[in-house]
Symmetry: none
Subunit: 224 residues, 4 copies
DNA sequence: TATGAATGAGCATTCATTCAT
DNA sequence: TATGAATGAATGCTCATTCAT
């Protein structure tokens, strides 16, 4: 019995290992080419597996893709959640938040781009997926829901930090939802510039810049 | 002679009309599906022409796509240029700029998304295109150059307005490039939210919000 | 009445002129590209007419093609027929025959190649059903009359000349059909070498060579 | 280990078998329709494979075509080379040469026709191919070179045999190049008659005929 | 009559996915 | 389990031919 368990365990470990390997390969390809232009052949070659093997780990190209963005959100969310718990000022929390989101966007720029931007694709993929979900018992909650939940969680953290700042008097009495939207937009927009790049910023510089402008704005303050 | 001319003119008008019609159809499809997923069959059906006819007006799927983004930039640029010339305050100019860019992003959201976001695709398309350009005498300058020039022009207007505001003392002594980057990011990011939408904003509301936050920031100003 | 006739005549002349013009253009294109690779667009452009106009003079691409080869045979045949009537020796007639056929092949090399070689194409063009082919034991399809007649006429002239030579004792007592076949083959084969060209021959040189070898062979004659 | 090897070997054999099968099918179609008119659908159907499968064995229609003519030349060349080594008279060697070339032309008439005659097509195909060759490491030498080399080899054998005959006094003191050209032309021309066929010849008859006329010519020899 | 425009029917090629071993 | 092979369904693009003026 014990032996059997160990073998199974080992087997499972190997499978997980392979899965991760495939995901890494796929991520690389997706990042390079986007969803549509990436081919299963490329992914298989990158993963050093046969195409058929890939299909034993994942049901479809779509599933691989979702697995990737699933993990992506999971990770960002973890980081962000911790920020909220710290005992620092709202301003400082904001800085950390900007830093973590930014560094994720930076690291996984291309994946993030696909997630944020290929809306119609996502819609299509999600739609089909949600239909499939009814038939199978999937290992994670139906993607669309999960998706929104994670996204919303992150947004919530922003809101909470800002609200806290307003309450402690660090921030103006702004509408929390509006402010969060703006902050999200700033970060997102900053990391997803188009082809025009007038200046390159390190993550630290980016963080400082975003933080500073979000806090102070551009207008000159007139003292009484 | 006169008659001939009129007929020809009418013919030409019809051709232009058809071309516009095809472009509109293509834009709709591209907006729905992105570049790769859009098929010529769909575009043809949407345009109510046969596929072969589409190919009499445009050389390739790529060409249609570029024609669309060409027009897009051309239009935004026109609007923006006028803002700069007005005699209002920098603050007011900024508001108009935000409004115009925003309304364009709003109207042509999906096209803009493709432009800004499908970087690898664009790269691929632009690359092939720039090779082709050498052979043919195109009606407009080589896309990549044109592309950057327009993009840069719009960015320049931002810079100028901000610089003006700094000079007149309306704005703080910020780095003009940084500020422009942030403003661009805010607008872009605001209109290209992902699937999460906590609140819908009209263009006017959006403009107010962006304008307000970019000017004032979120931090409470402490008066002496 | 008279006036009407003249106009019609003039009209007819113009039509003929145009037709010839189109044929010349088509011949050029066919010669360059063969039948399949030549497009009506190219032919139309070469002829400086619109494609639709071409279709008012000819029913189809096929018809143009046939018109060309028809004329080709007509012309060769004319030349050849005259040779036969001369009062010279068979040997001399043979030389002229070789010269004329050769110069035609030389001038219209590519057209001739198509005629002689694109058998399957010809088959298809001539409306011969490939299904019929499999059914019948005959390796060759019925070819329209004019075609065979012309071809046969030319062959006949060869035969007659050779027969004459045999009768007059100029030539050995060869089988006339065999000899004609060989002569035809030599000329044809000589002008339609593949891509390998060890040496270029002028028409005169070619004629001499062919004539000489056909008459004398390569074997050393042992005198008694 | 052994088992694995055997299976792999079997697999490879099956692959080779399939490849040959596809080639045979393609050859049949090409022979019937020429290169341009043959479609991949037809080839696939003839081969009883799906079109996509064909593309797993060959990169393109062109590649299939070249594989066929590659093999063709390879085979002819093999046969011819052996002739030269025999200890028989030049006259006898010539007969064998004529027989072998003839039987090849006879067997693969249509393929040979395409090779020899679709010059412009070949040029086009070869040209593209030679560009591609630089990029990929092909299994055989660049087609154009290989092509000429094989062709030239065959021609060389002809020359050598004739030269030998001249030296031994069997043949007249002819220009070797000229004589070879004529012989090549005769064989080629004989097997590639156009649609006119006055008489059918078996390969043996053809060989006799060609041999006899090439050796003796048609002219009556006057004995002293 | 002449023609610019329109199109149906193809065509080579690709790719996600399945099958058989 | 792993995989080489097979394929149906597309996809962008072409071209001979017809239509409408």
């Amino acid at each position: 019995m014990k032996k059997r368990d160990l073998r199974k365990e080992r087997e499972q470990l190997r499978r997980d290992e392979n899965k991760r390997f495939i995901l890494r390969a796929a991520e690389k390809i997706f990042a390079q080419k986007g969803f549509s232009l990436a081919t299963m052949d490329e992914i298989a070659e990158e993963a050093q597996f046969s195409k058929a093997t890939i299909y034993q780990y994942f049901k479809s190209k779509r599933e691989i893709f979702f697995e990737i963005i699933y993990k992506f959100f999971e990770e960002v969310h973890q980081k962000i959640k911790n920020v909220q718990l710290k005992k620092t000022s709202a301003e400082e929390k904001l800085r950390e938040l900007i830093f973590y989101i930014g560094s994720y966007y930076h690291k996984k720029k291309n994946i993030a781009r696909i997630i944020i931007m290929e809306k119609s694709l996502m819609k299509k993929l999600l739609h089909v997926n949600s239909k499939e979900q009814t038939a199978t018992s999937s290992p994670h909650p139906p993607i669309p829901d999960f998706f929104m939940v994670k996204l919303n969680d992150i947004f919530q953290v922003m809101c909470e930090i800002i609200e806290e700042g307003v309450k402690t008097g660090e921030f103006r009495k702004v509408d929390v939802l509006d402010a969060s939207s703006i902050l999200g937009a700033m970060i997102r927009g900053f990391y997803f510039r188009g082809p025009l790049r007038n200046k390159e910023y390190s993550i630290e510089e980016s963080t400082d810049l975003l933080h500073s402008f979000f806090l102070n704005g551009i207008k000159k303050v007139r003292h009484a």
